[in-house]
């Protein structure tokens, strides 16, 4: 199996100027809206800290909360299932569908189900799953993965969607007005809803205290899928549970504001059982999560509430699009999640990062993504899956950073190299950093030399006068 080369795939997207500019503009707009709305809430930073602590607590007592959740959900009339892995997850749902003779399914967006390859599995078994979220449906019709957690087709131009819908849904290929394209989707979905046998969705939160799930969407597609057919099946990863109803408003207040900079998702829906005459099933999925929980420095990754804020802010993601990660999860959270599914295949993803730290700054539950990037880089090198340059980097870092005198020598060496290595070498393919920019003009001295000459004497003087 080949390793995913995000640098190469990303370069293909960067080369498509119109796509890249639209993508960057839309995501940055979401980031700016997020900043504006966050700044309007005085307790915003305190809320992030609290949300993080509640998640850390829940994860550190997860068996207790899962049992409580399942007990209460069952008391509410929900059929609760447990799946150790993707195969079990898919089989459980197939068995339910077979027992109900299900043919037509409409589905709200669910990263967890994508992770299980559920749709492809059902197709093989003769059950057609219709994605009911516009972006997700676009991606389904195009046989492509979602490129963003909450905006699955944001890497596509309207003209791409127009030609896709013309090909697959018979719409006017010349009309690329998004309003028209939405109406095509709406009309097509109504044909499915008229005969839908079962609805599906993921779950944003599970509340242990009340035994119900919360599903947040803007289109109302998950709500229709859950409230119309006689059968409703939802999937929830084990890490989605929160302890109490009183914890929920904290997360709801953070979620949509972080994701899109909007105060609320249009449909913030709570399910505590089937309606009269309906059957409701919930599959609780592990699929590697319990292993992640046991990994000492890595387990806080499970705090993630899948809002996508880290993607909207990431300078790499904004220019390369989610498709270039060639994985279920993309962007900053993707590069620290995917190696835990397959370290070899995704060994290069943790290097798709400029260390700007922005993802960690905007994360509503403070997942330490920047630190986890380093965690995975060490793991990649330790397992021998790294690129030669990565191995050298990792090998040099330790002696370099171990003592200040080693670092001082390295600084001088660096300055010497900047002055004396000819441009033809410094800006050749050997140095990937020089690809899109020139080397800086070498300064007179290193920062350490400047500090010792100018700043330090002044500080020593101040210290003396303090005494």
């Amino acid at each position: 199996m080949k390793q995913v080369n995000q640098v190469k795939l990303g370069a293909e997207y960067i080369a498509k100027t119109a796509h890249r500019e639209m993508h960057d503009r839309c995501l940055w707009a979401a980031r700016m809206r997020r900043d504006k709305v966050a700044a309007s809430i005085p307790e915003w930073e305190e809320m992030r800290e609290l949300a993080s602590e509640i998640k850390l607590h829940t994860l550190s007592n997860l068996d207790y909360y899962l049992e409580q959740f399942a007990k209460n959900a069952e008391a509410n009339g929900i059929h609760v299932h447990w799946a150790r892995n993707a195969e079990e997850h898919n089989q459980i749902i197939l068995d339910i569908f077979k027992a109900h003779n299900v043919k037509v399914v409409t589905k709200g967006k669910s990263m967890t189900m994508d992770e299980c390859g559920m749709r492809e599995f059902m197709a093989k078994n003769g059950i057609e799953i219709n994605e009911a979220d516009l972006g997700e449906r676009i991606q389904q019709l195009d046989n492509q993965r979602p490129s963003h957690i909450v905006m699955p087709a944001i890497h596509k131009l309207r003209s791409d969607v127009a030609s896709l819908f013309a090909r697959t849904l018979g719409s006017d290929p010349k009309n690329d007005d998004p309003h028209y394209l939405n109406s095509v989707m709406r009309a097509d979905m109504r044909k499915k809803y008229v005969k839908v046998d079962a609805g599906m969705s993921g779950a944003n939160f599970g509340i242990a205290e009340t035994g119900g799930i919360v599903v947040c969407t803007n289109e109302g597609n998950a709500d229709i899928s859950a409230n119309l057919p006689p059968l409703y099946v939802a999937t929830m990863g084990i890490e989605k549970v929160i302890p109490r109803q009183a914890d929920l408003p904290l997360f709801i207040r953070l979620l949509s504001r972080s994701a899109l900079g909007l105060d609320m998702t249009q449909y913030t829906s709570h399910y505590h059982g089937p309606r009269k005459g309906q059957e409701m099933h919930l599959v609780i999925l592990d699929n590697g999560r319990s292993e992640r929980l046991a990994a000492k420095e890595y387990w806080p990754v499970l705090k993630c509430i899948r809002c996508g804020a880290c993607m909207n802010t990431c300078p790499v993601f904004r220019r390369t699009s989610g498709i270039s990660y060639d994985a279920i999860y993309m962007g900053p959270i993707g590069i620290v999640l995917e190696p835990s599914y397959d370290l070899y295949k995704y060994a290069r993803l943790p290097y798709s990062c400029t260390h700007c730290g922005s993802c960690g700054d905007v994360c509503p539950v403070k997942v330490p993504i920047p630190e986890l990037v380093f965690y995975w880089r060490s793991e990649v090198v330790r397992h021998g899956y790294g690129q030669p340059t990565h191995n050298i980097e990792e090998g040099l870092a330790e002696p370099l950073l171990k003592s200040s005198s080693n670092l001082a020598i390295a600084e001088k060496l660096g300055l010497w190299a900047l002055r004396h290595i000819p441009e033809s070498i410094a800006e050749s393919a050997v140095n990937p950093w020089a690809k899109a920019h020139k080397d800086p003009i070498p300064p007179e001295e290193t920062f350490r030399q400047y500090y010792n000459r100018v700043i330090k004497p002044g500080e020593e003087k101040n210290e003396k006068s303090d005494q």
């Binding site: 550190s60 068996d63 150790r84 939405n182 009309a187 839908v196 289109e219 408003p249 505590h272």
Partner: protein, 228 residues
């Protein structure tokens, strides 16, 4: 598949590997310091919802009955609101798949949230959520004295376990999935109008408040059976 075995194994794995216990903090009841009614309306309008203020519930029902969406000889109207009669009977929607034919749905909201412009609706108030979700125009009656400033307080007044389905509806159905262009009327209702009664300051002549920048470009062509 042995579910007990799967459950026990997952729980055992968690127990064996989980980190040291972190403390559980309390979530304070963060207050919302705006004007509940004013902010409710401005936020709802921000989500392309509409609102009308009335002095009494009677005024609201009177105004509603004069709306073109309520012409019972021309349109299909489902109502779960007290005092509003539709023309879709329970028998008509014994199979909920028929709900897509409903043009107008009238229902009750239990609470409004100033911080977001959201309306709390439940299985009880909606009777059939599918009718509200598949209708083209949704009218929600809301007692103006039940608009709560903040979300924390709102949740403290709700017992989630009592409701099979409970949801905060915040404006009509919307999407921004194509080039982030905001579009109203994705899968669910094309419009949501809050009829707020018990408002002492309601104007004598009811005024429909709309967002001047709202997306109103809903295509009438290419609708399924001209009816979605």
């Amino acid at each position: 598949m042995d579910q007990i075995e799967a459950k026990n194994e997952i729980l055992a794995r968690i127990k064996a590997g989980k980190p040291e216990l972190h403390p559980l903090p309390d979530v304070p009841m963060y207050p919302y310091n705006g004007n509940a009614m004013e902010d409710f309306i401005s936020h709802l309008l921000g989500f392309d919802g509409k609102a009308v203020k009335f002095k009494t519930r009677g005024d609201a029902l009177k105004w509603l009955s004069a709306q073109p969406e309520m012409e019972l000889d021309k349109t299909l109207v489902y109502s779960s609101a007290e005092g509003v009669t539709g023309n879709v009977s329970e028998e008509n929607i014994a199979d909920l798949h028929n709900a897509h034919e409903i043009e107008t749905c009238v229902t009750e909201g239990e609470f409004g949230v100033g911080e977001m412009g959201s309306i709390w609706v439940t299985d009880e108030s909606l009777r059939h959520a599918a009718c509200a979700l598949l209708s083209r125009h949704l009218f929600v009656l809301l007692d103006g004295t039940k608009i709560i400033p903040g979300l924390h307080e709102t949740y403290s007044r709700i017992n989630l376990r009592q409701h099979q389905y409970g949801s905060f509806y915040t404006g009509p159905s919307a999407t921004a999935d194509i080039e982030a262009v905001h579009i109203t009327g994705a899968q669910g209702p094309l419009s949501l109008t809050a009829l707020i009664y018990n408002c002492a300051d309601a104007p004598v002549v009811p005024e429909l408040m709309v967002n001047p920048n709202a997306d109103t470009s809903i295509y009438t062509k290419s609708r399924f059976d001209n009816k979605c």
